[in-house]
């Protein structure tokens, strides 16, 4: 519900990399300067939890963040995607005033940053690039210290707020232990607890599930959902697409310092293609099954091992066993059976109901061993925008 309320504000069309005309650059720089001088600039008073304009960061000659225009609506769970080294963390550091932008404007919670840093940051909880705690202090002591560091946080309620935050991430049992005795996952939870010390309007989580086991990952996801349900805007960065896909209402994709896509999740999905159906059957029934699908107006696409050409929805008719890479985040969805099933996939065209397909297959005598309909993941889009593999963008 929160997502839909704010959704109207989001840019509706995912922006491709190429749409950033190089000719815009000088004008943007000019705007940036003008914007920072004008207090009444509507840019900073918009209904966005986070908004940037032409945000750029250079280290020496290297441009790490290159003129990005982020727009995070209030109440959104906003996924900030991008491979390692794409500039996500640097962007977050600039949003939180840890680093100064080389050029461009930032508005967080309607106030210009870093000018209003002192009044904005108490309303923001953050986990930035892994947790950081003094190993010889207990979890409680670490949180109390960070809470005391916030000059606006009332000391009277400190003890209670620390306890509540620890309980919320399931660390109450380890609250008195020194942090050096914590596992990586526990530290990560403690980091999230720190973000929850006070009621926050915006929570920025940089790679919140790093180091967590599947159980912990699930807990973090549900925590984020509950934070969003409380009305907070959650800004989650991740290099794991599946994670973003499961909990976000909005997403943006960074690649090599540029913002290559941004928008509501369903809009991004739409851009990555229609839902796909998968039919699992015997090798012998492959041809009839394909025939049935063709009759229904679908274009069956016998699976080839994911090749990573970035050619989403490619139609090359090659038959093969699906080879799903673990890291693609689809492990729980589909895996070839040992029994030697053949898998047939097709885009589900508009107007055709999945049950209709099953009925037709069964009617044609195809032994349907499995049938799934999947919303297309963002993976294809992600891969097409950011490249794949270890050639980390620099």
């Amino acid at each position: 519900m929160t997502g839909s309320a704010a959704g109207t504000e989001a840019p509706s069309v995912p922006r491709a990399e190429g749409s950033d005309a190089p000719g815009e650059e000088p004008g943007r720089d000019f705007d940036a300067r003008a914007g920072s001088d004008m207090d009444g600039d509507p840019f900073a008073t918009g209904d966005f939890a986070i908004r940037t304009r032409g945000l750029t960061k250079r280290f020496g000659r290297q441009t790490v963040v290159d003129g990005i225009d982020l727009a995070v609506p209030h109440g959104a769970v906003f996924g900030f995607l991008g491979p390692n080294g794409s500039g996500k963390t640097t962007t977050i550091r600039m949003l939180l005033g840890l680093a100064t932008a080389t050029s461009g404007d930032i508005a967080v919670l309607g106030e210009s940053m870093p000018r209003s840093l002192g009044s904005v940051l108490p309303r923001v909880g953050a986990l930035i690039e892994g947790p950081g705690f003094h190993p010889f202090l207990s979890g409680t002591a670490n949180l109390r210290r960070l809470d005391a560091a916030d000059g606006f946080a009332p000391s009277a309620t400190r003890r209670a707020r620390v306890e509540r935050a620890l309980a919320r991430v399931g660390l109450s049992h380890a609250a008195r232990k020194p942090v050096r005795a914590y596992s990586l996952g526990m530290k990560q939870r403690l980091g999230i607890a720190n973000a929850l010390l006070a009621p926050r309007e915006l929570i920025v989580l940089d790679e919140p599930t790093n180091g967590l086991d599947p159980q912990g990952t699930r807990e973090v996801r549900s925590l984020i959902r509950s934070l969003a349900a409380d009305g907070a805007t959650v800004f989650v960065s991740s290099h794991l697409l599946a994670e973003i896909e499961q909990m976000c209402t909005h997403a943006a994709v960074m690649s090599a310092g540029r913002l290559v896509a941004q928008g509501r999740l369903d809009e991004l999905r739409a851009a990555s293609g229609p839902p796909r159906l998968t039919v699992r059957t015997t090798a012998a029934a492959l041809a009839p099954a394909a025939e049935v699908l063709r009759t229904l107006g679908l274009r069956p696409d016998p699976l080839a091992p994911t090749s990573g050409t970035g050619d989403a929805g490619g139609t090359a008719p090659a038959i093969g066993r699906k080879n799903v890479p673990e890291e693609a985040g689809m492990d729980t969805k589909m895996r070839p059976n040992e029994g030697g099933d053949t898998v047939l996939e097709a885009e589900l065209a508009q107007g055709i109901a999945p049950e209709q397909v099953v009925a037709s297959l069964v009617a044609a005598g195809v032994p349907v061993r499995g049938f799934t309909v999947e919303q297309p993941s963002l993976e294809d889009l992600f891969v097409s925008l950011t490249g794949e593999g270890f050639d980390v963008a620099q």
Binding site: T45, R93, R123, I128, E129, L137, A141, D150, G151
Partner: protein, 291 residues
């Protein structure tokens, strides 16, 4: 402006917060807690306490000496209260600057290397406030270190040697009570003398994310200053070295007390604190926190 745009719920949350930022006494206490909950801090204070104890035990075992060695050493057998003075003379050139360099050099760089700096800053602690609190904590450590040497010296002196009225440098004699008062004054004097070094350490600490480097640089600087202070070729420089008045604490052991060095020392250290505080502010407030 911001409040009018936040949601009603968030506004309610904000009302629970303080209207004004607190000056940071709570955070200062928390910083002291951090400092004195470290084993390293206690190890350093223990090492400092060991200086007078070693001196006293050595003197006791060898039954005096041949008149050589640091100032006041030959007085110890007559009056145990001189253990503290001797230990200060021994500690001031190296041990005290060493420990102060560790604490001051660690102040910002240590937080950076522990990844806690970014969390403090987004809490938000405020960069100036963080510098002030770190410097105040370093100053408290200076006092703790000096008092540790003095107190350990007095205690071991009382335990191992006769104690009585104390002969001052001028040859006059004062009561035990007054000599204890002067010991306290000396502790304050030495503490003030270390403030300049603390400010330098704080500044160096803002330059790097490697605490060991900042500590080493601070300690090396304190040694360089003392070496320069020994060379007659750099005599014009001597009065401007932060270590110039370090051993002048003895002026508090004259009759009447020579206060001029106390004042000059305080002014000199104030200048160092002002200059390096300003540098630390400039550097730290413009620094990109990437650790």
């Amino acid at each position: 402006m911001s409040l009018s745009e936040t949601t009603p719920r968030a506004q309610g949350d904000l009302e629970q917060r303080r209207a004004r930022r607190s000056v940071g006494f709570g955070f200062f206490l928390s910083e002291l807690g951090l400092l004195f909950r470290r084993r390293r801090t206690w190890a350093m204070l223990g090492a400092l306490a060991a200086v007078p104890i070693l001196i006293a035990v050595a003197i006791r075992l060898t039954d005096g000496g041949d008149g050589r060695g640091p100032a006041f050493l030959d007085r110890i057998t007559q009056n145990g209260l001189f253990v503290a003075m001797t230990a200060l003379v021994v500690s001031i050139p190296l041990f005290l600057p060493l420990t102060v360099g560790v604490v001051a050099g660690d102040s910002i760089a240590g937080e950076a290397s522990a990844s806690t700096l970014r969390y403090l800053l987004v809490a938000p602690v405020g960069r100036i406030r963080l510098l002030l609190v770190k410097f105040a904590a370093a100053a408290v450590f200076c006092l703790a270190a000096t008092v540790t040497v003095s107190l350990a010296g007095i205690l071991i002196g009382v335990a191992l040697f006769p104690v009585g009225p104390v002969t001052l440098l001028s040859g006059d004699t004062v009561s035990v009570a007054e000599s204890l008062g002067r010991s306290l004054l000396i502790a304050v004097y030495v503490t003030v003398g270390l403030l300049g070094l603390s400010a330098i350490g704080l500044f160096i600490s803002t330059l790097t994310d490697a605490p060991v480097g900042a500590m080493a640089a601070t300690v090396v600087l304190s040694i360089v200053a003392q070496v320069l202070g020994q060379l007659s070729q750099t005599e014009w420089l001597h009065p401007w070295l932060f270590s110039y008045h370090w051993l002048d604490f003895a002026d508090l052991l004259r009759q009447p007390i020579e206060w001029s060095s106390f004042g000059e020392n305080a002014l000199l250290q104030l200048a160092y604190v002002a200059v390096f505080g300003a540098l630390a502010y400039a550097r730290f407030s413009t620094k990109d926190i990437l650790s």
